[in-house]
Protein backbone atom coordinates (compact mmCIF):
# COMPACT_ATOMS: atom_id res chain seq x y z
CA UNK A 1 0.00 0.00 0.00
CA UNK A 2 1.54 3.31 -1.08
CA UNK A 3 0.43 6.90 -1.16
CA UNK A 4 -0.96 7.98 -4.51
CA UNK A 5 -1.11 11.48 -5.89
CA UNK A 6 -4.66 12.26 -4.76
CA UNK A 7 -5.04 15.33 -2.58
CA UNK A 8 -6.46 13.52 0.45
CA UNK A 9 -3.51 11.20 0.76
CA UNK A 10 -5.78 8.21 0.35
CA UNK A 11 -3.53 5.20 -0.12
CA UNK A 12 -3.20 3.22 -3.29
CA UNK A 13 -4.84 0.08 -1.95
CA UNK A 14 -3.77 -1.96 -4.96
CA UNK A 15 -6.27 -4.07 -6.85
CA UNK A 16 -9.50 -5.16 -5.23
CA UNK A 17 -12.82 -6.79 -6.01
CA UNK A 18 -16.40 -6.21 -4.96
CA UNK A 19 -17.60 -8.31 -2.04
CA UNK A 20 -20.45 -10.45 -3.35
CA UNK A 21 -22.69 -12.97 -1.56
CA UNK A 22 -21.82 -15.89 -3.80
CA UNK A 23 -18.15 -15.49 -2.86
CA UNK A 24 -18.64 -15.37 0.94
CA UNK A 25 -17.71 -19.03 1.58
CA UNK A 26 -14.59 -18.83 -0.58
CA UNK A 27 -13.39 -15.61 1.04
CA UNK A 28 -13.98 -16.80 4.60
CA UNK A 29 -12.49 -20.26 4.08
CA UNK A 30 -9.63 -19.56 1.65
CA UNK A 31 -8.75 -16.03 2.72
CA UNK A 32 -7.55 -15.08 -0.76
CA UNK A 33 -4.72 -12.62 -1.26
CA UNK A 34 -6.89 -9.64 -2.24
CA UNK A 35 -5.64 -6.09 -1.69
CA UNK A 36 -9.03 -4.70 -0.65
CA UNK A 37 -12.76 -5.23 -0.91
CA UNK A 38 -15.46 -2.77 -1.90
CA UNK A 39 -18.91 -3.29 -0.40
CA UNK A 40 -22.24 -2.11 -1.78
CA UNK A 41 -23.28 0.08 1.12
CA UNK A 42 -27.04 -0.48 0.88
CA UNK A 43 -26.62 -4.24 1.25
CA UNK A 44 -25.37 -3.81 4.81
CA UNK A 45 -27.30 -0.84 6.21
CA UNK A 46 -30.33 -2.72 7.51
CA UNK A 47 -29.15 -6.19 8.29
CA UNK A 48 -27.94 -7.73 11.50
CA UNK A 49 -27.72 -11.16 9.94
CA UNK A 50 -25.19 -13.08 7.93
CA UNK A 51 -24.16 -10.24 5.57
CA UNK A 52 -23.02 -8.07 8.48
CA UNK A 53 -21.42 -11.06 10.23
CA UNK A 54 -19.41 -11.80 7.07
CA UNK A 55 -18.53 -8.16 6.49
CA UNK A 56 -17.13 -7.81 10.00
CA UNK A 57 -14.86 -10.80 9.42
CA UNK A 58 -13.76 -9.45 6.06
CA UNK A 59 -13.14 -5.99 7.53
CA UNK A 60 -10.94 -7.55 10.22
CA UNK A 61 -8.66 -8.93 7.53
CA UNK A 62 -8.87 -6.60 4.51
CA UNK A 63 -9.13 -2.84 3.87
CA UNK A 64 -12.71 -1.87 3.03
CA UNK A 65 -14.14 0.93 0.90
CA UNK A 66 -17.87 1.62 0.62
CA UNK A 67 -19.78 2.25 -2.59
CA UNK A 68 -23.43 3.27 -2.67
CA UNK A 69 -26.20 3.59 -5.25
CA UNK A 70 -28.95 5.45 -3.38
CA UNK A 71 -27.54 8.79 -2.25
CA UNK A 72 -29.29 10.49 -5.18
CA UNK A 73 -26.98 13.46 -4.91
CA UNK A 74 -28.52 15.10 -7.98
CA UNK A 75 -32.14 14.83 -6.85
CA UNK A 76 -34.25 17.82 -5.87
CA UNK A 77 -35.65 15.85 -2.93
CA UNK A 78 -34.12 16.62 0.48
CA UNK A 79 -31.13 14.50 1.45
CA UNK A 80 -32.17 11.37 3.35
CA UNK A 81 -30.68 12.00 6.79
CA UNK A 82 -31.60 8.54 8.08
CA UNK A 83 -29.69 7.03 5.19
CA UNK A 84 -26.66 9.25 5.75
CA UNK A 85 -26.65 8.40 9.45
CA UNK A 86 -26.64 4.70 8.71
CA UNK A 87 -23.97 5.18 6.06
CA UNK A 88 -21.68 6.92 8.53
CA UNK A 89 -22.31 4.26 11.18
CA UNK A 90 -21.40 1.52 8.69
CA UNK A 91 -18.27 3.39 7.59
CA UNK A 92 -17.19 3.76 11.21
CA UNK A 93 -17.98 0.13 12.02
CA UNK A 94 -16.05 -1.29 9.04
CA UNK A 95 -13.28 1.34 9.23
CA UNK A 96 -14.02 2.09 5.57
CA UNK A 97 -11.24 4.15 4.04
CA UNK A 98 -13.67 6.17 1.93
CA UNK A 99 -17.29 6.35 0.85
CA UNK A 100 -18.45 6.78 -2.73
CA UNK A 101 -21.66 7.07 -4.71
CA UNK A 102 -22.60 8.30 -8.20
CA UNK A 103 -23.15 11.64 -9.89
CA UNK A 104 -26.80 10.99 -10.72
CA UNK A 105 -30.27 11.09 -9.28
CA UNK A 106 -32.33 8.00 -8.49
CA UNK A 107 -35.77 9.56 -8.03
CA UNK A 108 -37.88 12.51 -6.96
CA UNK A 109 -41.13 13.01 -5.03
CA UNK A 110 -39.98 10.52 -2.40
CA UNK A 111 -39.65 7.69 -4.89
CA UNK A 112 -36.60 5.66 -5.83
CA UNK A 113 -36.28 4.09 -9.28
CA UNK A 114 -33.06 2.38 -8.10
CA UNK A 115 -31.42 3.47 -11.32
CA UNK A 116 -28.61 5.96 -11.87
CA UNK A 117 -30.48 8.57 -13.87
CA UNK A 118 -28.51 11.15 -15.87
CA UNK A 119 -27.97 14.76 -14.83
CA UNK A 120 -28.42 17.90 -16.89
CA UNK A 121 -25.00 19.57 -16.83
CA UNK A 122 -26.04 23.17 -16.13
CA UNK A 123 -24.88 25.96 -13.81
CA UNK A 124 -28.00 25.51 -11.70
CA UNK A 125 -27.42 21.77 -11.35
CA UNK A 126 -23.78 22.41 -10.48
CA UNK A 127 -24.67 24.79 -7.62
CA UNK A 128 -27.33 22.38 -6.39
CA UNK A 129 -25.11 19.29 -6.39
CA UNK A 130 -22.11 21.12 -4.92
CA UNK A 131 -24.12 22.27 -1.91
CA UNK A 132 -25.42 18.75 -1.37
CA UNK A 133 -21.96 17.22 -1.65
CA UNK A 134 -20.72 19.59 1.05
CA UNK A 135 -23.68 18.65 3.26
CA UNK A 136 -23.02 14.94 2.74
CA UNK A 137 -19.29 15.31 3.48
CA UNK A 138 -20.19 17.10 6.72
CA UNK A 139 -22.68 14.37 7.67
CA UNK A 140 -20.23 11.56 6.89
CA UNK A 141 -17.29 13.45 8.41
CA UNK A 142 -15.18 12.42 5.42
CA UNK A 143 -14.82 13.58 1.82
CA UNK A 144 -17.26 12.05 -0.65
CA UNK A 145 -16.05 10.35 -3.81
CA UNK A 146 -18.42 10.49 -6.77
CA UNK A 147 -18.39 8.09 -9.68
CA UNK A 148 -19.20 8.93 -13.27
CA UNK A 149 -22.23 6.76 -14.07
CA UNK A 150 -22.86 5.10 -17.41
CA UNK A 151 -25.48 7.18 -19.20
CA UNK A 152 -27.83 6.36 -22.05
CA UNK A 153 -29.41 9.77 -22.55
CA UNK A 154 -28.28 13.42 -22.55
CA UNK A 155 -30.31 16.55 -21.88
CA UNK A 156 -30.53 19.36 -24.39
CA UNK A 157 -30.39 21.79 -21.45
CA UNK A 158 -26.76 20.84 -20.70
CA UNK A 159 -24.36 23.74 -21.16
CA UNK A 160 -21.16 21.83 -20.42
CA UNK A 161 -19.74 18.35 -20.86
CA UNK A 162 -19.84 15.79 -18.07
CA UNK A 163 -16.09 16.06 -17.55
CA UNK A 164 -16.33 19.85 -17.27
CA UNK A 165 -19.18 19.46 -14.77
CA UNK A 166 -17.12 16.98 -12.76
CA UNK A 167 -14.08 19.24 -12.78
CA UNK A 168 -15.99 22.24 -11.49
CA UNK A 169 -17.98 20.19 -8.99
CA UNK A 170 -14.84 18.71 -7.48
CA UNK A 171 -13.33 22.18 -7.09
CA UNK A 172 -16.49 23.79 -5.72
CA UNK A 173 -17.41 21.02 -3.30
CA UNK A 174 -13.93 19.64 -2.62
CA UNK A 175 -14.97 16.10 -3.45
CA UNK A 176 -13.08 13.35 -5.19
CA UNK A 177 -13.73 11.11 -8.12
CA UNK A 178 -14.19 7.41 -8.41
CA UNK A 179 -13.25 7.21 -12.07
CA UNK A 180 -15.05 4.33 -13.75
CA UNK A 181 -13.11 3.77 -16.96
CA UNK A 182 -15.69 1.35 -18.33
CA UNK A 183 -18.41 3.95 -17.76
CA UNK A 184 -16.33 6.53 -19.64
CA UNK A 185 -16.16 4.10 -22.55
CA UNK A 186 -19.87 3.20 -22.36
CA UNK A 187 -21.10 6.78 -22.16
CA UNK A 188 -18.74 7.92 -24.92
CA UNK A 189 -20.05 5.14 -27.18
CA UNK A 190 -23.65 6.05 -26.37
CA UNK A 191 -23.13 9.78 -26.94
CA UNK A 192 -20.63 9.61 -29.79
CA UNK A 193 -17.93 11.43 -27.81
CA UNK A 194 -14.21 10.83 -27.29
CA UNK A 195 -13.37 8.82 -24.14
CA UNK A 196 -9.72 9.91 -24.28
CA UNK A 197 -10.72 13.56 -24.19
CA UNK A 198 -12.87 12.79 -21.14
CA UNK A 199 -10.00 11.15 -19.26
CA UNK A 200 -7.52 13.85 -20.23
CA UNK A 201 -9.82 16.53 -18.79
CA UNK A 202 -10.02 14.98 -15.32
CA UNK A 203 -7.82 16.49 -12.59
CA UNK A 204 -5.60 13.52 -11.66
CA UNK A 205 -5.20 14.73 -8.09
CA UNK A 206 -8.95 14.23 -7.56
CA UNK A 207 -9.00 10.55 -8.54
CA UNK A 208 -9.12 8.35 -5.43
CA UNK A 209 -10.23 5.10 -7.02
CA UNK A 210 -10.80 3.40 -10.36
CA UNK A 211 -13.59 1.06 -11.38
CA UNK A 212 -13.35 -1.46 -14.21
CA UNK A 213 -16.09 -3.76 -15.48
CA UNK A 214 -17.53 -5.57 -18.45
CA UNK A 215 -20.55 -4.41 -20.41
CA UNK A 216 -23.05 -5.50 -23.08
CA UNK A 217 -22.88 -3.99 -26.54
CA UNK A 218 -26.34 -3.92 -28.11
CA UNK A 219 -25.06 -2.46 -31.37
CA UNK A 220 -26.98 0.79 -31.14
CA UNK A 221 -25.88 1.41 -27.56
CA UNK A 222 -23.95 -0.18 -24.70
CA UNK A 223 -25.45 -1.21 -21.37
CA UNK A 224 -23.28 -1.22 -18.26
CA UNK A 225 -24.10 -4.75 -17.14
CA UNK A 226 -21.00 -5.75 -15.11
CA UNK A 227 -21.43 -9.29 -16.39
CA UNK A 228 -18.25 -10.04 -18.31
CA UNK A 229 -14.52 -9.49 -18.70
CA UNK A 230 -13.15 -6.00 -19.28
CA UNK A 231 -12.67 -5.39 -23.00
CA UNK A 232 -9.27 -4.38 -24.38
CA UNK A 233 -10.22 -0.79 -25.35
CA UNK A 234 -11.23 -0.18 -21.74
CA UNK A 235 -7.90 -1.58 -20.50
CA UNK A 236 -6.14 0.80 -22.87
CA UNK A 237 -8.13 3.73 -21.50
CA UNK A 238 -7.16 2.60 -18.00
CA UNK A 239 -3.49 2.55 -19.03
CA UNK A 240 -3.85 6.08 -20.41
CA UNK A 241 -5.49 7.37 -17.23
CA UNK A 242 -3.03 5.68 -14.84
CA UNK A 243 -0.22 7.41 -16.71
CA UNK A 244 -1.74 10.68 -15.49
CA UNK A 245 -2.87 9.72 -11.98
CA UNK A 246 -0.17 7.28 -10.97
CA UNK A 247 -1.18 4.07 -9.23
CA UNK A 248 -4.62 4.48 -7.68
CA UNK A 249 -6.75 1.87 -5.90
CA UNK A 250 -8.46 -0.11 -8.66
CA UNK A 251 -11.51 -2.30 -8.33
CA UNK A 252 -13.16 -4.79 -10.67
CA UNK A 253 -16.96 -4.94 -10.57
CA UNK A 254 -18.69 -8.17 -11.60
CA UNK A 255 -22.34 -8.14 -10.55
CA UNK A 256 -24.27 -10.37 -12.95
CA UNK A 257 -23.52 -13.90 -14.16
CA UNK A 258 -20.88 -13.87 -11.44
CA UNK A 259 -18.24 -16.57 -11.99
CA UNK A 260 -16.08 -18.26 -9.37
CA UNK A 261 -14.03 -15.99 -7.19
CA UNK A 262 -10.71 -16.96 -8.81
CA UNK A 263 -11.96 -15.79 -12.22
CA UNK A 264 -13.09 -12.43 -10.86
CA UNK A 265 -9.86 -11.99 -8.93
CA UNK A 266 -7.73 -12.94 -11.94
CA UNK A 267 -9.59 -10.38 -14.06
CA UNK A 268 -8.94 -7.73 -11.42
CA UNK A 269 -5.27 -8.63 -11.23
CA UNK A 270 -4.85 -7.90 -14.94
CA UNK A 271 -4.82 -4.28 -13.78
CA UNK A 272 -1.46 -4.92 -12.11
CA UNK A 273 0.16 -5.56 -15.47
CA UNK A 274 -1.22 -2.30 -16.89
CA UNK A 275 -0.06 -0.38 -13.82
CA UNK A 276 3.42 -1.94 -14.00
CA UNK A 277 3.66 -1.22 -17.71
CA UNK A 278 2.79 2.42 -17.11
CA UNK A 279 5.36 2.68 -14.33
CA UNK A 280 8.07 1.16 -16.49
CA UNK A 281 7.21 3.55 -19.31
CA UNK A 282 7.36 6.52 -16.97
CA UNK A 283 10.73 5.37 -15.55
CA UNK A 284 12.14 4.82 -19.04
CA UNK A 285 11.07 8.29 -20.08
CA UNK A 286 12.62 10.03 -17.07
Amino acid sequence: MTSSRNRWGFPDLGVGVGLRTSHYPHILERKPDVDFFEVLSENYLDTGGRPMHVLEQVADRYPIVMHGVSMSIGSTDPLDREYLGKLKALADRTRALWVSDHLCWTGVAGRNTHDLLPMPYTEEALRHVASRVRAVSDALERPLMLENASTYAEFTASTMTEQEFFGRLMEDADCGMLLDVNNVYVSAFNHGTDPKAYLDAIDPSRVAQYHLAGHTNKGTHIIDTHNDHVIDPVWELYRRSVARTGDVATLLEWDADIPEFEIVHAEARKALAYRSHVNETVRAAS
Binding site: L45, T47, G48, R50, N112, H114, A153, F155, H221, I223
Partner: protein, 264 residues
Protein backbone atom coordinates in the same frame (compact mmCIF):
# COMPACT_ATOMS: atom_id res chain seq x y z
CA UNK B 1 -38.05 11.35 -17.09
CA UNK B 2 -39.05 9.45 -13.96
CA UNK B 3 -42.69 9.64 -15.00
CA UNK B 4 -41.75 7.71 -18.15
CA UNK B 5 -39.31 5.32 -16.52
CA UNK B 6 -41.87 4.06 -14.01
CA UNK B 7 -44.52 3.26 -16.63
CA UNK B 8 -45.16 -0.29 -17.84
CA UNK B 9 -45.51 -1.21 -21.50
CA UNK B 10 -43.48 0.03 -24.44
CA UNK B 11 -41.61 3.31 -24.15
CA UNK B 12 -44.01 4.90 -26.65
CA UNK B 13 -46.91 3.90 -24.40
CA UNK B 14 -44.98 5.20 -21.39
CA UNK B 15 -44.29 8.58 -23.01
CA UNK B 16 -47.96 8.87 -23.99
CA UNK B 17 -49.24 7.83 -20.54
CA UNK B 18 -51.32 10.30 -18.58
CA UNK B 19 -48.70 10.77 -15.88
CA UNK B 20 -45.87 11.45 -18.34
CA UNK B 21 -47.78 13.47 -20.93
CA UNK B 22 -49.11 15.74 -18.18
CA UNK B 23 -45.52 16.85 -17.66
CA UNK B 24 -44.28 16.79 -21.26
CA UNK B 25 -46.10 16.51 -24.55
CA UNK B 26 -44.83 13.31 -26.24
CA UNK B 27 -44.03 15.38 -29.33
CA UNK B 28 -41.62 17.49 -27.26
CA UNK B 29 -39.35 14.75 -25.89
CA UNK B 30 -36.74 15.74 -28.47
CA UNK B 31 -36.66 19.24 -26.99
CA UNK B 32 -35.51 17.78 -23.66
CA UNK B 33 -33.44 14.73 -24.60
CA UNK B 34 -30.86 14.66 -27.39
CA UNK B 35 -30.92 12.02 -30.09
CA UNK B 36 -27.79 9.93 -30.57
CA UNK B 37 -26.44 8.73 -33.89
CA UNK B 38 -28.35 5.48 -33.44
CA UNK B 39 -31.28 6.14 -31.08
CA UNK B 40 -34.11 8.65 -31.02
CA UNK B 41 -34.68 10.67 -27.83
CA UNK B 42 -37.60 8.42 -26.88
CA UNK B 43 -35.56 5.27 -27.51
CA UNK B 44 -32.79 6.63 -25.25
CA UNK B 45 -35.25 7.19 -22.40
CA UNK B 46 -36.57 3.73 -23.22
CA UNK B 47 -33.25 2.20 -22.16
CA UNK B 48 -33.99 3.34 -18.60
CA UNK B 49 -37.71 2.56 -18.81
CA UNK B 50 -37.04 -0.98 -20.03
CA UNK B 51 -34.76 -1.74 -17.10
CA UNK B 52 -37.03 -0.35 -14.37
CA UNK B 53 -39.60 -3.13 -14.20
CA UNK B 54 -36.97 -5.82 -14.77
CA UNK B 55 -35.18 -4.49 -11.68
CA UNK B 56 -38.37 -4.50 -9.60
CA UNK B 57 -39.30 -8.02 -10.72
CA UNK B 58 -35.80 -9.28 -9.94
CA UNK B 59 -35.87 -7.72 -6.47
CA UNK B 60 -39.22 -9.24 -5.56
CA UNK B 61 -38.29 -12.57 -7.11
CA UNK B 62 -35.38 -12.62 -4.67
CA UNK B 63 -37.70 -12.06 -1.71
CA UNK B 64 -40.64 -14.17 -2.92
CA UNK B 65 -39.17 -17.03 -4.98
CA UNK B 66 -41.98 -19.48 -4.15
CA UNK B 67 -44.73 -17.00 -5.02
CA UNK B 68 -42.90 -16.35 -8.29
CA UNK B 69 -42.56 -20.07 -8.92
CA UNK B 70 -46.24 -20.73 -8.23
CA UNK B 71 -47.43 -17.97 -10.55
CA UNK B 72 -44.88 -18.46 -13.34
CA UNK B 73 -42.76 -15.71 -14.91
CA UNK B 74 -45.44 -13.84 -16.83
CA UNK B 75 -48.11 -13.79 -14.11
CA UNK B 76 -45.53 -12.85 -11.47
CA UNK B 77 -44.19 -9.99 -13.62
CA UNK B 78 -47.75 -8.79 -14.20
CA UNK B 79 -48.45 -8.87 -10.45
CA UNK B 80 -45.23 -6.98 -9.69
CA UNK B 81 -46.07 -4.40 -12.36
CA UNK B 82 -49.38 -3.68 -10.66
CA UNK B 83 -47.74 -3.76 -7.21
CA UNK B 84 -45.01 -1.21 -7.94
CA UNK B 85 -47.57 1.07 -9.59
CA UNK B 86 -49.46 1.02 -6.29
CA UNK B 87 -46.40 0.91 -4.02
CA UNK B 88 -43.28 2.28 -5.74
CA UNK B 89 -40.04 2.10 -3.79
CA UNK B 90 -39.67 4.98 -1.37
CA UNK B 91 -36.58 3.66 0.36
CA UNK B 92 -32.86 3.73 -0.27
CA UNK B 93 -32.96 -0.05 -0.26
CA UNK B 94 -34.87 -2.54 -2.40
CA UNK B 95 -35.01 -4.79 0.66
CA UNK B 96 -38.15 -2.92 1.75
CA UNK B 97 -39.87 -2.99 -1.63
CA UNK B 98 -41.83 -6.15 -0.81
CA UNK B 99 -43.08 -5.12 2.63
CA UNK B 100 -46.65 -4.70 1.40
CA UNK B 101 -46.63 -7.57 -1.06
CA UNK B 102 -48.66 -10.06 1.06
CA UNK B 103 -51.33 -7.40 1.72
CA UNK B 104 -51.36 -6.48 -1.96
CA UNK B 105 -51.92 -10.11 -2.92
CA UNK B 106 -54.74 -10.29 -0.37
CA UNK B 107 -56.43 -7.35 -2.11
CA UNK B 108 -55.81 -8.68 -5.64
CA UNK B 109 -59.22 -10.09 -6.43
CA UNK B 110 -59.24 -12.50 -9.34
CA UNK B 111 -55.81 -13.91 -8.54
CA UNK B 112 -55.75 -17.71 -8.78
CA UNK B 113 -55.41 -19.42 -5.34
CA UNK B 114 -55.22 -16.06 -3.65
CA UNK B 115 -55.53 -17.41 -0.06
CA UNK B 116 -52.66 -19.81 -0.60
CA UNK B 117 -50.52 -17.08 -2.17
CA UNK B 118 -51.18 -14.73 0.75
CA UNK B 119 -49.99 -17.43 3.16
CA UNK B 120 -46.96 -18.22 1.02
CA UNK B 121 -46.02 -14.54 0.75
CA UNK B 122 -46.39 -14.08 4.52
CA UNK B 123 -44.01 -16.99 5.10
CA UNK B 124 -41.47 -15.67 2.60
CA UNK B 125 -41.63 -12.20 4.13
CA UNK B 126 -40.97 -13.73 7.56
CA UNK B 127 -37.90 -15.49 6.13
CA UNK B 128 -36.60 -12.15 4.82
CA UNK B 129 -37.28 -10.39 8.12
CA UNK B 130 -35.55 -13.13 10.10
CA UNK B 131 -32.57 -13.07 7.72
CA UNK B 132 -32.03 -9.35 8.37
CA UNK B 133 -33.09 -9.05 12.02
CA UNK B 134 -30.52 -7.84 14.56
CA UNK B 135 -28.35 -10.53 16.08
CA UNK B 136 -29.21 -11.30 19.70
CA UNK B 137 -27.13 -13.87 21.60
CA UNK B 138 -29.17 -16.94 22.59
CA UNK B 139 -29.98 -17.86 26.15
CA UNK B 140 -27.17 -19.66 27.97
CA UNK B 141 -27.33 -22.60 30.37
CA UNK B 142 -25.85 -20.31 33.02
CA UNK B 143 -28.70 -17.82 32.60
CA UNK B 144 -31.25 -20.62 33.03
CA UNK B 145 -29.46 -22.02 36.08
CA UNK B 146 -29.43 -18.59 37.67
CA UNK B 147 -33.24 -18.49 37.90
CA UNK B 148 -34.39 -19.58 41.36
CA UNK B 149 -37.23 -22.10 41.55
CA UNK B 150 -39.58 -19.56 43.12
CA UNK B 151 -38.84 -17.09 40.30
CA UNK B 152 -39.96 -19.37 37.46
CA UNK B 153 -43.75 -18.83 37.71
CA UNK B 154 -43.42 -15.11 36.99
CA UNK B 155 -40.39 -15.32 34.72
CA UNK B 156 -40.86 -14.14 31.14
CA UNK B 157 -38.87 -15.71 28.29
CA UNK B 158 -37.72 -13.11 25.77
CA UNK B 159 -37.30 -14.36 22.20
CA UNK B 160 -34.39 -13.51 19.95
CA UNK B 161 -35.12 -10.72 17.45
CA UNK B 162 -34.74 -13.13 14.54
CA UNK B 163 -37.80 -15.27 15.26
CA UNK B 164 -41.33 -15.32 13.86
CA UNK B 165 -44.19 -17.73 14.66
CA UNK B 166 -46.98 -17.80 12.09
CA UNK B 167 -50.12 -19.81 11.49
CA UNK B 168 -51.51 -20.46 8.03
CA UNK B 169 -54.59 -21.95 6.39
CA UNK B 170 -52.40 -23.88 3.91
CA UNK B 171 -49.27 -26.09 4.03
CA UNK B 172 -47.03 -23.33 2.71
CA UNK B 173 -43.82 -24.43 4.41
CA UNK B 174 -43.93 -27.74 2.56
CA UNK B 175 -44.52 -25.88 -0.71
CA UNK B 176 -41.64 -23.47 -0.06
CA UNK B 177 -39.34 -26.39 0.72
CA UNK B 178 -40.29 -28.14 -2.51
CA UNK B 179 -39.35 -24.98 -4.43
CA UNK B 180 -36.04 -24.69 -2.60
CA UNK B 181 -35.34 -28.36 -3.30
CA UNK B 182 -36.18 -27.80 -6.97
CA UNK B 183 -38.71 -30.62 -6.52
CA UNK B 184 -41.50 -30.16 -9.03
CA UNK B 185 -43.71 -32.70 -7.29
CA UNK B 186 -45.20 -29.93 -5.13
CA UNK B 187 -47.52 -30.73 -2.24
CA UNK B 188 -51.19 -30.28 -3.00
CA UNK B 189 -52.52 -26.79 -2.39
CA UNK B 190 -55.31 -27.69 0.04
CA UNK B 191 -56.84 -25.88 2.97
CA UNK B 192 -55.05 -27.45 5.89
CA UNK B 193 -54.06 -25.37 8.89
CA UNK B 194 -50.32 -25.27 9.58
CA UNK B 195 -48.06 -23.42 11.98
CA UNK B 196 -44.46 -22.51 11.24
CA UNK B 197 -41.64 -21.12 13.32
CA UNK B 198 -38.95 -19.20 11.41
CA UNK B 199 -35.78 -18.35 13.27
CA UNK B 200 -32.09 -17.73 12.78
CA UNK B 201 -29.40 -19.83 14.38
CA UNK B 202 -25.71 -19.21 13.75
CA UNK B 203 -26.66 -16.84 10.89
CA UNK B 204 -28.71 -19.47 9.05
CA UNK B 205 -32.50 -19.18 8.70
CA UNK B 206 -34.48 -22.25 9.74
CA UNK B 207 -38.16 -23.13 9.33
CA UNK B 208 -40.06 -25.69 11.37
CA UNK B 209 -43.65 -26.94 11.12
CA UNK B 210 -45.05 -27.11 14.64
CA UNK B 211 -48.08 -28.98 15.99
CA UNK B 212 -51.00 -27.05 17.42
CA UNK B 213 -50.33 -27.55 21.14
CA UNK B 214 -46.63 -26.69 21.26
CA UNK B 215 -47.36 -23.75 18.95
CA UNK B 216 -49.94 -22.42 21.43
CA UNK B 217 -47.35 -22.59 24.24
CA UNK B 218 -44.68 -20.94 22.09
CA UNK B 219 -47.04 -18.15 21.07
CA UNK B 220 -48.03 -17.55 24.70
CA UNK B 221 -44.37 -17.23 25.63
CA UNK B 222 -43.63 -14.97 22.67
CA UNK B 223 -46.49 -12.71 23.74
CA UNK B 224 -44.79 -12.29 27.11
CA UNK B 225 -47.08 -14.48 29.17
CA UNK B 226 -45.44 -15.47 32.50
CA UNK B 227 -43.79 -18.86 32.30
CA UNK B 228 -45.95 -20.45 35.04
CA UNK B 229 -49.23 -19.39 33.45
CA UNK B 230 -48.21 -20.43 29.95
CA UNK B 231 -46.99 -23.85 31.08
CA UNK B 232 -50.09 -24.44 33.23
CA UNK B 233 -52.27 -23.70 30.22
CA UNK B 234 -50.23 -26.05 28.05
CA UNK B 235 -50.51 -28.81 30.68
CA UNK B 236 -54.27 -28.31 30.71
CA UNK B 237 -54.32 -28.67 26.91
CA UNK B 238 -52.46 -31.95 27.17
CA UNK B 239 -55.17 -33.35 29.48
CA UNK B 240 -53.18 -35.48 31.87
CA UNK B 241 -50.45 -36.65 29.50
CA UNK B 242 -47.93 -35.23 31.95
CA UNK B 243 -45.24 -32.57 31.74
CA UNK B 244 -42.74 -34.54 29.67
CA UNK B 245 -43.80 -33.11 26.25
CA UNK B 246 -43.70 -29.57 27.62
CA UNK B 247 -40.23 -30.12 29.03
CA UNK B 248 -39.11 -31.53 25.66
CA UNK B 249 -40.55 -28.62 23.68
CA UNK B 250 -38.94 -26.05 25.95
CA UNK B 251 -35.61 -27.88 25.91
CA UNK B 252 -35.62 -28.04 22.12
CA UNK B 253 -36.56 -24.37 21.69
CA UNK B 254 -33.81 -23.27 24.06
CA UNK B 255 -31.32 -25.58 22.32
CA UNK B 256 -32.33 -24.07 18.98
CA UNK B 257 -31.49 -20.62 20.33
CA UNK B 258 -35.01 -19.23 20.05
CA UNK B 259 -34.81 -17.33 23.34
CA UNK B 260 -32.42 -14.58 24.30
CA UNK B 261 -33.09 -13.83 27.96
CA UNK B 262 -35.22 -14.52 31.02
CA UNK B 263 -36.85 -11.51 32.62
CA UNK B 264 -37.48 -12.09 36.32
Amino acid sequence: MQAVVEQPGTVDEAVASGEASALLDPADVGRVVRASATLTPVERVGVYQGMYLLRMVEALQGDYPAVAHFLGDDAFAELVTRYVRAHPSTSYTLNRLGNRFPDFIRESRGLRRRGFLVDLARLEMAVTQVFDAPETPPLTAEAIAAVREDEWPNAVLEPIAALRALSFAHPVNAYLQSVKDDDHDHPAVTRNGTRVVVWRKRFEVWRLDVEEKPFALLQALLKGQPFGKAVARAAEDLKGVGGEPIYRWLRDWVAEGMFAAIRR
